[in-house]
Amino acid sequence: MAEQMRVVTKDIDVPGIDTLAVYEQHGGYQALRKALGMEPAAVLEEVKASGLRGRGGAGFPTGMKWSLLAKGSPKPTYVVCNSDESEPGTFKDRMLMEKLPHRLVEGVLISAYATGAKQAFIYIRGELALAARQVMRAIDEAYAAGYAGKNIMGSGHDIDVMVHRGAGAYICGEETALLESLEGKRGYPRLKPPFPAVAGLYGGPTVINNCETLSTVPAIIANGAAWYAAIGTEKSKGTRIFCLSGLVNRPGNYELPIGTTFRTLIEEFGGGVIGGKQVKAFIPGGSSTPMLPADKLDISADYESVAAAGSMFGAAGVIVLDEDTCIVGAVLRMTEFYRDESCGKCTPCREGTFWLVQLLERLEAGHGRAEDIDLLNDICDNISGKSFCPLGDAAATPIVSSIKLFRDEYIAHVTQGRCPFRARELATAGNH
């Protein structure tokens, strides 16, 4: 079996790596020590030079994000780690927090040092109870060992780190809703501008980075930007943790250099599709990224190639749909998620997702009409670009991309008056 490239997940299988002692034995907090010996600006430059891009989905260059922080604000600067991992098809941050909590804490401390923040928050999805316990324990150990708190490692710098657990809303993964939630308010996305880099948490300049992004920082500081930038493709540097799910034999997290093909990921690491079936389609970056047909399996998994193929690299949550998967049913399931997770602030997302689910239910049940398909598309057009935050666009994506690729399947639901795949399932069941 092919080997993963362990940069972020280095030593993940070492027993006890979640404890400070073992983490230290394996080079833990050496990157922090090194960073503290550098000027903050030099740390920032290093991250910038590494080409690291945000792993939360948008892929914004991390070093650039840090350098956009407003200077001279009368309010304190904050670092916030977005560990509200909720996108269907993603489960990498959870693993990192559960198994390598110290690496995240180290990354958070380095970024706080680089950005001049004295307070960092790690916002963890409420459902991830174990992850939160692990990170809190790691923070306690880091405080006890002098890595966090006052005068860290004798450097004269104070950095506090605190965990905040979410209350169970997908929208709080959106960075401004996350800030609202962190401030103790209802998780509604905020109007931008001002952007968080200018006025974020409690009105202070705030940098918000994904958990994997921050967990990557120690490796970059320890090994140097050049070392990291040598991994990956020309424009997409480093490794990514691919969250492989769907109908594959070995679903799970695989850290691979950016530029690996989806076919390699699915066949070599995921062991191929269950039952040796064909891939019908795959979603490359989590459910809010457009699905791609099987003939795109050989593209390189990097930001540019995925975009050229008509989708987004997103959070690298790769979902595999096999030949027997009903596209309408799968899309219905995803749309229900967005309906239930819409915060309700803006009209198109709140009302549109409600309508979309009902239409998809009708189609899936075989009661749909031919014009429903165009109606779905038009509703999506009235949501996309019209809603307050990207959640609305995300909700429209599976529908629009699936109709583009698999309109025939939608039509079959109408003309046959039932779900063709459900019918096949029932027929097979009847033979037993």
Partner: protein, 726 residues
């Protein structure tokens, strides 16, 4: 507004081909409004920061670098920039608006025919103007239990709610009081009440008015009319001294509701519930319609002529038998300036007496002060005050809409100090709260002056003229002496004194009735002097003075319904008896117009009078003891002017057909004056106002035309210079 905007750079942009210039920072929606172009909105409210939630106000803005086309933008969240080109009616905009309206309507019940909002509903109107003709939604709507009660006065129909959050944001951001919250999320979103904090705000009614649809309705207005059946008249709320501008909505012979008629200088577009729903006395079927005369101990109906003849005869007879000193009059804090003016004139000229007063706070004799006892600042000035001191005042319950001004100031960074014997709702937002002993407010003011003088903190015109004699006046008023009764330490008091003395603008307010507390005999003068010493009397965003109780409390004073001054505070050589003296057996015949002394003194004192005549709308405790009761009209049935607590003279218009049988007080006064031998030729209150404008320097130039819709504030220009307080 003009003061603030003059320093802000102007930006010129084009909207639908029309050029419009607005201050930088203006949002596109507002700029379009100024250009006379409608952009539909739901969540946006001009009095609140942009939200961007409803997605109704889409416009297309030409890209700075064509041909990169951008999706339509929301006009309420987009700030103007120089050279911006905005289109509000492109196919892209039309589709986006249609889309939003279709979305809003999928879960909105089509119960317009029975909805109170039908006919003045933004969802109806915008659907008609911008919406799709038909919906493509043919599935199951979301259902909720039909109206649920969210407060004592308000119902919520969640099916009709479009989740614009105006109501929630008003209660949270403007009223900053117990209110409505958003519950659930996504399509399950609903407005509701926090189970731990009932929606009992005195400002609750504003959410009904702000609701763009029929989701929030007033219980009092439910199913009583259709909006197109209403006759709408601009007027002024009679509820308190703030003088909020209202629109009186009448159907046939009843007031059905009051709504705000935004006056940014006074009410900022808000009303309190007391004002909004306080119209029932006007509609009350038990109102007096026929003059009553006491015979054999009982009040009997009679004719107007008989009643008026009797009153004139009794008053004249009393004067003849016992002299002018034996008659007196108590005027009203509710009736108009014109009526109060005529009232004192009838007494002074017809009965030759200065026994004239009304129920009010305790102030040094009006004739002694060089300026009237009045708030020297303005309501809008409070917006940007640096410090606010409530010295025995609780606007939330007494002058509610002023409480919203104070909260606005707090949002702008003001620091609030509350000194009040009783807990008040505003306490929560105050930087300091002192629970003092009633009647200690004046002593506190003097202690503050003691600190100002001791620490040489005086400023302004006063500072130069401080003599050792003057200084010694407050020598004994040390903070230590009053600390215990104030509920603060001496150091706290010193800190407050320093704060006021160093403030860019301190507003010091006391309730007029606080001056009646024993111990507060000199409160008005002391508070004024404190402001004078620290230079807050005429400074912008500052001021000192009383918060009056009633809608025309100040008007009654301005019009000379006082024993020692004629209209315009002109001193009188031989002052008459004051309120307490008249009621305490000083007069034999008493003429009461629109007042209820039985509330303030032992009603038995009224029984001792030889003769009592009362002009009144309802059978009050005072009217019950009268010998003649003359049925009067309400504020909604007559014209005239009233003067609010910041000296703004505002016109009342006739909103309601007068109650048959009753007469306006000015008509009653005119009829009585004729019988007292005066030759009055006033055809209407407008003629009286003309006379006031020439007789009262403060009101010079005020005509009904000059007052316009929103009144005019009289200034101190007509007053002598302030030289000395005592």
């Amino acid at each position: 507004m003009s003061q603030e905007s003059s320093n802000v750079p102007q930006v010129t942009l084009t909207i639908d081909g029309r050029s419009v210039t607005v201050p930088q920072g203006t949002v596109v929606w507002k700029a379009a409004q100024l250009a006379g172009i409608e952009i539909p909105i739901y969540c946006y409210h001009p009095k609140m920061p942009p939200l961007g939630a409803c997605r109704m106000c889409f416009v297309e803005i030409e890209p700075m670098q064509p041909p990169v086309a951008k999706p339509p933008q929301t006009a309420c969240t987009t700030e103007v920039r120089e050279g911006m080109v905005v289109h509000t009616d492109t196919p892209l905009v039309q589709k986006a608006r249609k889309g939003t309206l279709e979305f809003l309507l999928i879960n909105h019940p089509l119960d317009c025919p029975i909805c109170d909002k039908g006919g003045e509903c933004d969802l109806q109107d915008f659907t008609l103007r911008y919406g799709p003709g038909a919906s493509r939604f043919d599935l199951e709507k979301r259902h909720f239990q039909k109206p649920i009660s969210v407060s004592e006065n308000i119902l919520l129909d969640r099916e009709r709610c479009i989740a614009c959050q105006r109501c929630v944001r008003f209660t949270q951001e403007i009223a900053q009081d117990n209110g409505l919250i958003m519950l659930q999320r996504g399509f399950r979103t609903e407005v509701g009440v926090d189970p731990n904090a009932p929606f009992d705000s005195i400002f609750s009614g504003n959410v009904v008015e702000m609701c763009p649809v029929g989701a929030l309705t007033a219980k009092s207005y439910r199913f009583v009319t259709r909006p197109w059946e209403l006759r709408r008249t601009p007027s002024v709320c009679p509820g308190c001294a703030v003088g909020c501008n209202v629109r009186v909505d009448v159907r046939v012979d009843r007031i059905l509701r009051l709504t705000s008629r935004t006056n940014d200088d006074i009410d900022d577009g808000w009303l309190c519930d007391r004002g909004r729903w306080g119209y029932e006395p006007v509609n009350d079927p038990a109102r007096l319609r026929v003059p009553l005369v006491r015979r054999n101990g009982e009040l009997h109906e009679t004719t107007w002529d008989a009643a008026l003849d009797l009153v004139a005869e009794k008053l004249k007879a009393t004067v003849v038998q016992y002299g002018s000193q034996a008659v007196g009059g108590i005027g009203s804090t509710h009736t108009t300036n014109e009526e109060n003016y005529l009232f004192q004139k009838a007494l002074r000229e017809g009965l030759k007496t200065n026994n004239i007063d009304h129920y009010h706070g305790r102030f040094p004799a009006a004739s002694q002060g060089a300026m009237p006892w009045v708030f020297t600042g303005t309501i809008t000035g409070i917006d940007h005050a640096a410090h606010i001191v409530l010295l025995g005042a609780d606007p939330y319950t007494r002058q509610p809409v002023l409480d919203l001004r104070i909260k606005k100031a707090l949002r702008n960074g003001a620091k609030l100090t509350v000194i009040n014997p009783e807990p008040a709702r505003i306490d929560r937002l105050a930087a300091r709260v002192w629970r003092n002993t009633p009647g200690s407010e004046a002593a506190l003011a003097r202690a503050l002056m003691h600190v100002v003088l001791a620490e040489n903190l005086a400023r302004g015109d006063m500072a130069a003229g401080i003599t050792p004699d003057y200084r010694s006046r407050f020598q004994n008023d040390t903070p230590e002496r009053v600390a215990a009764t104030i509920g603060a330490t001496a150091d706290d008091i010193r800190a407050l004194a320093r704060e006021i003395a160093g403030s860019d603008g301190a507003v010091i307010l006391y309730d007029e009735m606080t001056t009646r507390q024993p111990g507060n005999e000199t409160l008005a003068a002391d508070a004024f002097e404190l402001a004078l010493l620290t230079d807050h009397v005429t400074r912008p965003h500052a001021g000192v003075g009383p918060l009056w109780e009633d809608a025309n409390s100040l008007g009654a004073r301005d019009m000379g319904v006082l024993p020692d001054v004629a209209p315009g505070y002109r001193p009188i050589k031989s002052p008459g008896m004051d309120y307490d003296a008249m009621l305490g057996g000083g007069v034999r015949a008493l003429w009461v117009m629109g007042a209820n002394p039985a509330r303030h003194v032992d009603p038995a004192l009224l029984d001792k009078l030889d003769f009592l005549v009362v002009q009144e709308m309802a059978m009050t405790e005072t009217a019950k003891r009268a010998d003649v009761v003359l049925p009067a009209l309400s504020y909604a049935e007559k014209i005239g002017t009233v003067t609010n607590l910041e000296r703004c003279v505002q016109p009342l218009r006739r909103a309601l057909t007068p109650l048959p049988g009753a007469r306006a007080d000015w008509e009653i006064l005119r009829a009585l004056a004729t019988r007292l031998g005066l030759n009055w030729a006033y055809r209407s209150p407008a003629d009286v106002l003309t006379e006031i404008a020439s007789a009262v320097p403060l009101y010079a130039g005020l005509t009904r035309v000059a007052l316009g819709d929103q009144g005019k504030r009289w200034s101190f220009a007509g007053m002598p210079e302030v030289v000395e307080v005592r």
